[in-house]
Symmetry: C2
Subunit: 402 residues, 2 copies
C-alpha cells in the first residue's frame, strides 16, 4: 500500500515504476525521474533523502549511470523505490519531490550505442515478403532458423515528440525506367518494442539465451519510421539503409524488465526447433499489447505475444559471433503484427501496399501525409493484478526540407 493517492486503474502503479529523463520550464537540468501515477519522482533527490548509496549513480544527467550499474543496483533501486513510496514515514520528505508529469519535458533517456532492428514477427515478415517479392516464397529459408536482424542508425534515435522530417531520396517504381529524386511518397511506421542493454559484454564473448535479465535493463516502445519507396529501391543486396536511417522514435519511459514479470508467456511455438544456443529454459514471450493511433484514431492493436522470436533469443543471436555489447545498446523486435488485419503494426501491411486504404477521421488513407501524427502506446499485465503502461511514442510528420 502506497501513501500516494493513486487511482486503482493507473497504468503507473508501484508494479511499474519506469525510468525517464526530465527537465522543467524553470529548471533545465536533466534529471532521472520515475513515473508514478500522473506524477514524476525526482529519483536522485528521493534516493538522497532516504540516504541511499545509489543516489549518485542516478545523478548524472541521464540514465547512463544506472544502466551501467548492473542488475544488483537495478534491483536495489527498485526495492528502495517500493519502500519509500509505501512507508508512510517517508511521505513528508518524498512528497515535495513529486512533480506533475504534465508539466515536465521528457528527453532521450540514455545515450544510444548500437541500434539493431530484428524482424521477429512471422506475420510481418510474411506480409512484407509478399509485398516486396510477390513472385517468391514470402519467408526466406533462414527465417525460422535465426532471428533475422540488421544494424540501424543509433545516431538518429530520437525521443517521442520529436518531429519527423519527411525524408528525400531515390525512388523507382517497377514500371519506371530510372529512379527519380524527391520526398518519400510512401512514408510509413513500424510499431515495435525495443530492449535497452544495461550490462554489456566483451568482444569475443556471448550472452547466453538464459541470461537476458542480467543484461537488459528494460523496454521501450519504438516507432521505426520507414520510407517504403526508398527502401524498396535500395535494399538489395545489403538491406535497408536510407529508408530507415532518417529517424527512429522511442518512448521516453524505460519500463524495467522486473515490471514485465507478469507479462511473460511462452512463445507461440517454434518449428523447426532452433539450434541449441537459441533454446532457453525460460519463457520470454511478452504479453504486451500495442495500440497504434493515426491522427487520434485507433487503427491497429499489434499483439506482442504473437512474436516468433523472443528478446532473449535476439540477444543470444546478436552476440553468438562474439560481438561486444555496450550499456545503451538498443535492439528492437521489428514490426509487431498479429494474424488479423487490425493487428498489423505497419501501414504498408494494414493497407496492403496502399491497395486497401483505411479510414482515418472519415478519410481514406494509405501512407503518411505531412502533418499526420502517429501515437503508439502499449500496456501489459502488471504483477499487482492490473495493467502497467509504457506510455507512448508520438511523432508528427513535417514537410521535406527544401
Amino acid at each position: 500500500m502506497t501513501w500516494l493517492d493513486l487511482p486503482d486503474d493507473t497504468l503507473f502503479g508501484l508494479d511499474n515504476l519506469p525510468y525517464g529523463l526530465f527537465s522543467t520550464p524553470t529548471d533545465s537540468r536533466r534529471r532521472v525521474g520515475v513515473a508514478v501515477g500522473d506524477q514524476v519522482l525526482d529519483l536522485a533527490a528521493a534516493l538522497a533523502a532516504v540516504g541511499s548509496t545509489h543516489a549518485e549513480v542516478v545523478d548524472s544527467g541521464s540514465l547512463d549511470g544506472l544502466l551501467a550499474a548492473g542488475r544488483p543496483a537495478w534491483d536495489a533501486v527498485r526495492a528502495e523505490l517500493a519502500d519509500l513510496l509505501t512507508d508512510p514515514a517517508r511521505a513528508e520528505s518524498i512528497r515535495p519531490l513529486l512533480l506533475p508529469r504534465s508539466g515536465v519535458h521528457l528527453h532521450l533517456p540514455f545515450t544510444v550505442g548500437d541500434y539493431v532492428d530484428f524482424y521477429a514477427s512471422e506475420h510481418h515478415a510474411t506480409n512484407l515478403g509478399r509485398l516486396f517479392r510477390p513472385d517468391s516464397e514470402p519467408l526466406m529459408p533462414n527465417w525460422k532458423h535465426l532471428p533475422v536482424g540488421y544494424h540501424g542508425r543509433g545516431g538518429t534515435v530520437v525521443v517521442s515528440g520529436t518531429p519527423v522530417v519527411r525524408p528525400c531520396g531515390q525512388r523507382k517504381a517497377p514500371d519506371e525506367a530510372a529512379p527519380t529524386y524527391g520526398p518519400s511518397r510512401r512514408l510509413d511506421i513500424e510499431a515495435e518494442l525495443g530492449f535497452v542493454v544495461g550490462t554489456g559484454s566483451l568482444q569475443g564473448t556471448r550472452i547466453g539465451v538464459d541470461d537476458l535479465a542480467d543484461h537488459v535493463f528494460g523496454a521501450v516502445i519504438v516507432n521505426d519510421w520507414s520510407a517504403r519507396d526508398l527502401q524498396a529501391w535500395e535494399y538489395v543486396p545489403l538491406g535497408p539503409h536510407l529508408g530507415k536511417s532518417f529517424a527512429t522514435s522511442i518512448s521516453p519511459w524505460v519500463v524495467p524488465l522486473a515490471a514485465l514479470e507478469a507479462a511473460r508467456v511462452p512463445l507461440p511455438g517454434q518449428d523447426p526447433e532452433p539450434l541449441e544456443y537459441l533454446r532457453g529454459r525460460e519463457d520470454w514471450g511478452l504479453d504486451v499489447e500495442l495500440v497504434v493511433a493515426w491522427n487520434g484514431e485507433e487503427v491497429s492493436r499489434p499483439p506482442y505475444r504473437e512474436m516468433y522470436w523472443s528478446p532473449a533469443q535476439m540477444l543470444a543471436h546478436l552476440t553468438v559471433n562474439g560481438a561486444s555489447t555496450r550499456s545503451g545498446d538498443l535492439y528492437a523486435s521489428g514490426t509487431v503484427s498479429g494474424p488479423r488485419r487490425e493487428q498489423r503494426g505497419a501501414f504498408i501491411e494494414l493497407t496492403w501496399g496502399g491497395a486497401e486504404p483505411v479510414t482515418v477521421q472519415g478519410e481514406q488513407r494509405t501512407f503518411l501525409a505531412d502533418g499526420d501524427e502517429v501515437v503508439i502506446s502499449a500496456t501489459a499485465p502488471g504483477v499487482g493484478g492490473g495493467r502497467i503502461g509504457f506510455g507512448e511514442v508520438a511523432g508528427t510528420v513535417v514537410p521535406a526540407a527544401p
Copy 2:
C-alpha cells in the same frame, strides 16, 4: 625544410602528419600524437610549448576534441605543426616531445559513432554478385544509381593489432538440409578505406556533395573482417549482420584530408550520370594504393583510384534523407578491388570462393586459418612530390571461444 632529420623517402614527412592516440610503457595517459618520420610528437605538449590556443582541444585523452573542433581548427593546427617542425628556433623545445614510434602503444584514436559500410567498387560488387548469386545479374539494378551501403556495428570497431576471435554462428551450404552451429569456416578480410566525420550535421539536413572537406576530418585503412559462410546464410533480405559485426579493424593513424590533396583524381567514369545530388564539381577519386599481406607475403594491391563512387558521393547519399551525422561517425568504402586478380581486396574474390587458392609462404590457401595474420598498408602521392603512408592495419586470427 624541417629541422628534423627525416629520410628523403619517409612516408611520414611534413606533407602527411597523421593523428593518433598513444601511451607509453611508463606513462599510461592516452595522448594525441602526430606521426613524423619514425617518431611521434606529443601534440598537446607541442602546441602548449608554442603557446597555441589549440593545445586544450587536443588534451582530452582522444582525438574527439579535435574532430569536433571543425575545419578552421584542423587547418590551424596543421599550419602550427608545419611551423613548429620547420622553425629551427623551435627545435630545442620540441625535440624532447618526440618519442620513437616503436616504443609507444597506439589506441583506438576516437570514439566511433555510427559505422556505415559502402560497396563502392564495381569490380568487388560484380565479383561478389557472381559468387553469392551465380544465377542472376551480378550487379543489382540500383548499383549504378546510388552508392549502396548499410550500417555496421560501431561498437566492434577496434584498432590495428587487436586479435580477431574467429566468430561462431550458423552456416548452411546450399547442399545441406539445415544449418549447423560452429566456428566460421570461411573467414575473410575486406581491404577498405574509411572516412572519419569531424563536423556532424543536424537531423533533417543534408551534406552537399561538394562539402566533404567541411565535414570529413581524415581517412584510415579499414579491415572489415567477414565470415562468408555466416553472411551467405543470414543476409537475405535485410543484409549482412553477424557475418560482419564481430570485428572491424582500423589503422591507428588518421590521415588528414588535407594530406590527400595530391592523391585526388577524377573517378574512372560514371554511366549513367548520377542524379544531381550526387554530381560534384570537385574530384574526389583518390589515388591510394593498398597492399594486402597474408602472413607476411604480399597477395594483393587494391587500387583505390578504381572505385566507382567517391567518398563525397557516399556522404551526400548517407545524409540525403536527413540522417544526422556526428563527430566520430565512420564510413568505409567497401572492399577495394581493381579489375585484375592481383588487385582484389577480399580473399573470397582472390580465390574465387575458395576454388582458386593462392600460394602463401609455399602453401595453398583460401580462407583464414587460426594464427594467420593479415596486414593491410596504404600509400598515396604526397603534396611534397613523394609518397605519404597510412601506416597499416594488422590483425591476427585467434581460435573461436569455447
